[in-house]
Symmetry: C2
Subunit: 253 residues, 2 copies
């Protein structure tokens, strides 16, 4: 008998963002796998086994979940945000491609969720209202030169840029280097949004400019959105400013 594996997006960190589909996938599971802090968001249930692992063990976690499903269990592998964006869905696909033939025959489903850039954008206004891109600043898995090339291409072509994984204990300098790189291509006044732990008790959001953006404001739970030259800020007396990118770009005269 063959089991099944659901790779489940929990959204940004609060049950208000958990879709009914994700809820159903969690409820149907015999066993849960995940990075400890994500797994901790799922209320314990006596008849569900829980396997927490470290952040850096994505490949091993994917294999363990697949093995468990291949043994006939219904397994949920949980991910923060959306599992398809710099998260566990790609790790599972990598493990399937490299793994035993039987893993290709498993009933696999990916359950999407609200990824961090959407949650941060919603809190700030509509900074992703026009063409945008998402770049992970982690150079654990790709050369830094490639990240620089992508930052240049995105800024040069007028994309709004969401920066995932801006910093970690082992990578303290990437965000500062990325800001430096973007300052060569973008105006000083370009709006920059720091969004941290959206939907959680310690949620914080702040808006600054590219010239003033301080990389030390970011930690592992921060997502950063760098505007395009079209991105605008609406001041609101007594309320936080709204940041948005208009839907239209005027034809050059």
């Amino acid at each position: 008998m063959s089991g099944r594996l659901a790779v489940v997006g929990l959204g940004p960190g609060d049950a208000r963002y958990l879709t009914p589909e994700a809820q159903a996938a969690l409820a149907a599971a015999d066993a849960l796998y995940g990075y400890g802090p994500y797994l901790a968001r799922v209320p314990p249930r006596g008849d569900q086994a829980r396997h927490a692992s470290d952040n850096r063990e994505e490949g091993a976690r994917a294999k363990a979940a697949l093995q468990s499903a291949a043994e006939g269990l219904s397994v949920a592998l949980v991910s923060g945000g959306d599992p398809g964006v710099f998260a566990m869905a790609a790790a599972v696909c990598e493990a399937i491609e490299a793994g035993p033939e039987a893993w290709r025959d498993l009933d696999l489903s990916i359950v999407p969720g609200v990824t961090a850039m959407l949650a941060v954008a919603a809190k700030a206004g509509a900074p992703l209202g026009h063409d945008f891109c998402a770049i992970s600043l982690s150079d654990n898995l790709k050369p830094w030169e490639l990240i620089e090339r992508r930052l240049d291409a995105a800024a040069g072509a007028g994309f709004v840029i969401a920066l995932y994984n801006p910093v970690s204990r082992a990578r303290p300098t990437q965000l500062a280097a990325a800001f430096e790189r973007l300052r060569r291509a973008l105006p000083d006044a370009t709006p920059v949004i720091f969004g941290r732990a959206i939907g959680r008790a310690d949620e914080a959001i702040s808006v600054t400019t590219l010239a003033a953006a301080d990389p030390d404001r970011a930690d592992m739970a921060t997502l950063i959105i760098v505007g395009s030259p079209q991105t605008r800020v609406i001041e609101r007396p007594g309320r936080s400013a709204l940041v948005y990118t208009p839907r239209a770009v005027a034809r050059s005269p």
Copy 2:
């Protein structure tokens, strides 16, 4: 007394994707505004006014919803997918910036949702597992030359590309032109995913290559994901193929 406006993302088209936060915002509304087919997803309630409008009337719809909130009502303006991605949140910000001062004092919230590219990616595997961008192919609001420049920049720098608004009755040729443009920069074998109406009864997903991609497969409800040169396809006997982009890019030798 001042009312409030929630711009609510319904997700891709099925109540399984509707977050509890979106559900709560709909339940709290005195009045609902939206494009007809999106509004039709919200079950009618006798004490809620419903104002359906045409797809092309985003600006007018945003103003009407703001005006209604300024008159003291609790208003929900619904959007498919995520309201911040090529949708109503930017239209609302534009209307606030251009509108009466009082609109800046409204209690405005944007409720994020699962945007189409995340839902399509989840059905296909993990094509957005590495750096990616989202481009609207509608040249109603920006010059076509800018779209070409962005396609070139994204393909040249190795981004996976999600194409929103690929085609409409008034714009039948943009997707064919975009595929032609991308064929200059990307290998023939680059995987291309067509995802249509995910989460609805007529849901359809298909995987092909850039060389074989037929623009006539797309309609207004289709989202397209064009892989990067790193994107891979895993064949699965008796199951649909998995498409994914690995997390790692090897350092060039």
